[in-house]
């Protein structure tokens, strides 16, 4: 069972402090902190790609979409398979293509199944949970139990040198992608007509319906959007995490914790929450590996205790 903190391919976080050892120069110690910070940023970026869609779907549809982790995993597998079968295919085409595939799948699922359960939130939860079990098992049948490593795109393989430090380039790319996606989502939500409609739906679904916003179509669109971001995020995360059975179960709780922390339905909440969890988890895993999982609890407990709706949440449901 591999973990989402990027250690599994040997390029990652928890391996770093041990391999660098105690006898090395102070500069390397500095390097440790900087590399861990970058790892935190890249995990935070991946979490944002996962949690933003989850949060949007929950915010608009009041639907705790438990298939979301499976969407991420599906994206990772699509990416792994495409990159390994078609030698030399463009990484970005694979990422976007996988995102679109997962989005289409999500849209079908929403239209054909979830749509019938609009008035039954418990039913929606169970069905999304059931679907995640089906996807997980289908992936196991199709691709077996061994992790499939996703190759890092060749043009990102050489490390970047900045200010005298060496950075794994690909992690910078992930962070850049998440920033681009968050900017795009921000512009979509805050600067377009559709965004205004989505925000209205998040704030007050009944009222939005009453003033003639096509909430039903928005549901499908947002579901596709959320699933697509998760799918593309899975491809982006692939070179760090690789595609393996159980990736969905590893990612889903992280998404939940991020969203509980940041507040459901809030893009800013998902953003801030992702990076908080990214930092806490990475440093926890590097410094006290045994307890990293308990440390994940702490920000969640603190926030729930003082602000049950999360840092930036508007909903009380």
């Amino acid at each position: 069972m591999a973990s989402p903190h990027c250690a599994d391919n040997g390029r990652g976080s928890t391996a770093a402090p041990r391999s660098h050892g105690a006898g090395l120069a102070r500069g390397l110690n500095m390097q440790f902190w900087i590399i861990q910070s970058l790892n935190s940023l890249s995990l935070g970026a991946l979490l944002f790609l996962l949690a933003s869609g989850f949060s949007l779907i929950f915010g608009l549809m009041r639907l705790a979409n438990l298939t979301h982790g499976a969407f991420f995993m599906l994206g990772a597998y699509f990416g792994a398979v495409a990159l390994r079968t078609f030698e030399g295919i463009n990484f970005w085409i694979v990422a976007i293509g996988s995102g679109l595939l997962v989005a289409a799948f999500g849209g079908l699922f929403e239209r054909l199944v979830l749509r019938r359960l609009n008035t039954n939130p418990l039913g929606q939860v169970l069905v999304t949970l059931g679907m995640s079990l089906i996807i997980a098992d289908a992936c196991l049948i199709l691709w077996g139990g061994d992790p499939i490593p996703v190759p890092t795109p060749s043009y990102f393989q050489s490390p970047t040198r900045l200010f005298g430090f060496v950075f794994p380039t690909y992690r910078l790319v992930i962070v850049a992608c998440a920033l681009a996606v968050s900017l795009a989502l921000y512009l979509l939500l805050e600067r377009t007509r559709i965004g205004a409609m989505i925000r209205a739906g998040v704030d007050d679904r009944q009222m939005a319906r009453a003033v003639g916003i096509p909430v039903s179509k928005l549901f499908t669109a947002v579901f596709c959007l959320g699933a697509g971001i998760a799918g593309a995020g899975g491809v982006l995360g692939g070179p760090v995490l690789s595609a393996y059975p159980g990736l969905d179960a590893d990612m889903l709780p992280l998404a939940l914790i991020v969203v509980i922390l940041g507040g459901v339905g809030s893009l800013l909440g998902a953003f801030v929450g992702s990076f908080i969890i990214g930092f806490i988890y990475t440093f926890g895993a590097a410094l006290i590996p045994d307890l990293a999982y308990i440390i994940l609890f702490l920000p969640m407990i603190a926030v729930i205790a003082f602000r049950p709706r999360g840092l930036f949440g508007r909903l009380t449901t």
Binding site: M1, S3, F58, R62, L63, A64, L66, V113, R116, L117, N120, P121, L122, G123, V125, L126, V127, L129, G130, M131, S132, L133, I134, A136, D137, A138, I141, A249, D250, L252, P253, L256, I257, V259, I260, V264, P289, D290, L291, A292, Y293, I294, L296, F297, M300, I301, I304, A305, P308, R309, T317
Partner: protein, 311 residues
């Protein structure tokens, strides 16, 4: 009529080891354990309106406490059991404090997140939990010097504990407290205005449900003499929830029927196909889409219709 059915059923259950083979005795034991677990979850889901998706936490935790105490520290079974019950109940109280800050789907998400953290801990804290290898080498207790090693004796033991659990939970929901719990489920504001404390009622129920899930976990760990992180997994919580929903939540008999069905299906299905998770997912879809209120209420409605049409 109803009394006779119950007596016949009870006699059948008690006499089962006398005519059934070992395989069926063990199967029935597993069914009973699943039933205790689903009944405890039903207190939350059916009577309290609190859909927890982390109920396996208490089942797994109580099992792990017993396993760790008895294998690592050589604690006797009686003491380990008591510590496990106490520890699980305290854990339920703490989780309840957190999860009950929210209601509805947020409650579900928080319970799920907490149980997944415990699951992750069971996998990663290998120095204590042995990780993916699980903990084996647990021995069954000797209550009053009676050996529980044979399948039949363990079955009877489980049956007794299960009957006590059923009775205790039935008393709980049929009492005045149970009525106030249902009131809080349906009309929390009105109940608060009437002077009830909805939060406290929910919290007590949460702890009580955690306690019985812990008992189910003890039965589970002593039955298998082995514990693995899957006991804490989301699939385990989901199976319990499926049992409750399939049988009919908010009824006393529903979870019994539902959990029995799910665990029978699981045992039979896993004998023929390996894809239990896939099947479980599909059953989820089908039951939610076609039988949203569950089997027991559905069957009751059907029977009522038949009675009415017959002169």
């Amino acid at each position: 009529m109803k009394k006779i059915t119950i007596i016949v059923l009870a006699a059948l259950l008690i006499a089962l080891p006398l005519f059934a083979g070992e395989f069926y005795i063990n199967l029935s034991t597993q069914v009973l354990i699943a039933v205790v677990f689903a009944m405890s979850l039903n207190l939350l889901v059916g009577y309290g309106g609190m859909t927890s998706l982390g109920h396996a936490s208490y089942m797994g935790l109580s099992g792990y406490i017993v396993a760790i105490l008895s294998t690592h520290y050589g604690v006797g079974n009686g003491t380990a059991t008591l510590i496990s019950i106490a520890g699980t109940t305290v854990c339920a109280a703490l989780f309840g404090l957190l999860a009950l800050r929210a209601t509805g789907l947020s409650f579900l998400m928080i319970t799920l997140a907490m149980s997944q953290v415990l699951w992750g801990l069971a996998y990663r804290l290998t120095s204590v939990t042995n990780g993916d290898n699980g903990i084996s080498g647990i021995t069954r207790p000797l209550p009053f010097g009676i050996s529980l090693e044979s399948p039949a004796s363990y079955y009877w033991f489980t049956l007794i504990v299960g009957a006590i659990a059923f009775g205790a939970m039935a008393i709980f929901v049929l009492s005045a407290f149970g009525s106030s719990l249902k009131g809080v489920r349906d009309q929390p504001r009105r109940m608060a205005a009437l002077g009830f404390n909805p939060w406290l009622i929910r919290w007590i129920t949460f702890i009580y449900a955690g306690f019985w899930a812990g008992i189910a976990g003890l039965l589970y760990v002593y039955y298998h003499k082995y514990i693995h992180p899957t006991s804490l997994s989301i699939t385990n919580s989901a199976e319990g929830l499926l049992g409750v929903i399939a049988g009919g939540s908010g009824t006393l008999g529903g979870p019994v029927v539902g959990a029995a069905l799910v665990s029978l299906l699981k045992n039979y299905a896993s004998a023929y196909i390996e894809r239990w998770n896939m099947l479980l997912g599909m059953i989820f879809l089908l039951i939610v889409l076609f039988m949203p209120t569950g089997i027991v209420p559905g069957a009751r409605r059907l029977l009522a219709r038949i009675w009415r049409t017959q002169p």
